[in-house]
Symmetry: C2
Subunit: 144 residues, 2 copies
C-alpha cells in the first residue's frame, strides 16, 4: 500500500490545519470547553479581545455573514460572547468575548504557542523561525 503521490502544498496545508485543530480542541475539551467545536473556531480565530463586527469576522474568515451570525448565536447561548451595538454605526454590532470567551482565546493562544515552541525545540529555534517567516511570506505572495 501507500503507493500514493507525493503530497503537494495543498495537502501539506490541510494536514497541518487538521493536526493543529486536533490538538487545540482536545485541549479546550480538557479545560472544560467541550462544547466549543471547530465550527466556532471561525469566530474565535478572528475575534479581538475588544470585540469585532460580525461582518469583519465574515470577511476575515471567508464565510458568509449568515453563517457567522449563526455561530455567534451559538456562542452567545453558550456564554462565550455578547453582542453590543456600535455607537459610531448603529447598524453594526460588535461581537465581544465574555470572560469565558477570553479564557478560550487565552487557552487557544497558549495551545498554539506550545505547539510552535515544541516544533522550535525539535527542529531548532532558528530553523523554526525561518519557517514561520517564510510561511508568512508565502501567504503574502499568494494574496495577489
Amino acid at each position: 500500500m501507500s503507493s500514493h503521490r507525493r503530497p503537494g502544498l495543498g495537502v501539506l496545508a490541510a494536514r497541518l490545519l487538521f493536526a493543529v485543530q486536533d490538538e487545540l480542541y482536545e485541549r479546550l475539551e480538557l479545560a472544560g470547553h467541550g462544547r466549543v467545536t471547530r465550527l466556532h473556531g471561525a469566530v474565535f480565530a478572528h475575534l479581538d479581545e475588544d470585540g469585532t463586527r460580525t461582518s469583519e469576522i465574515a470577511r476575515r474568515s471567508g464565510r458568509h455573514k449568515q453563517v457567522i451570525g449563526r455561530i455567534v448565536d451559538d456562542l452567545e447561548a453558550l456564554g462565550y460572547v455578547a453582542r453590543r451595538s456600535e455607537e459610531t454605526d448603529r447598524r453594526a454590532k460588535l461581537v465581544i468575548p465574555t470572560d469565558r470567551g477570553l479564557e478560550v482565546l487565552r487557552l487557544s493562544d497558549e495551545a498554539i504557542g506550545e505547539i510552535e515552541a515544541r516544533l522550535a525545540d525539535a527542529l531548532g529555534e532558528d530553523v523554526y523561525q525561518v519557517f514561520d517567516h517564510t510561511f508568512r511570506a508565502v501567504l503574502d505572495e499568494l494574496a495577489d
Copy 2:
C-alpha cells in the same frame, strides 16, 4: 480596524489551504472541470493513478467512509472514476480514475506545481526548498 491578534500556526495553515484551493479549482473550472468542487478534492487528493480503496481514501482524508462513498458516487456519475472489485479481497472495491479523472489529477499536480514554482521564484529557490523540507518535518513532528 485590523487590531486583530497575530495569526498563529493554525490560521496560517487555513489561509494557505484556502489560497491553494482557490487557485486550483479556478484552474480546473477554466479547463472544463467546473463540476469538480472542493468536496471532491478529498478523493482526488488521495487517489492514486492505479486506484485506491474507498476505505483507504477515508483513512487518508480523515473522513467517514460513507462520505467518501457518496463523493465517489458523484465522481462516478460525472465520469471521473470507476469502481472495480479487487481480486484479492472481494469485499473491497478499488476506486480508479478514468481518463477524465487522470486529467484532473494531472491538472491538479500541474496547478500545485506552478504555485510552488512561483513561490520558489519569488522567494528564492533555496529558501523555498528549505520551507518545503521544514514543512514536512513539522508534519512528522506533529504526527506523534
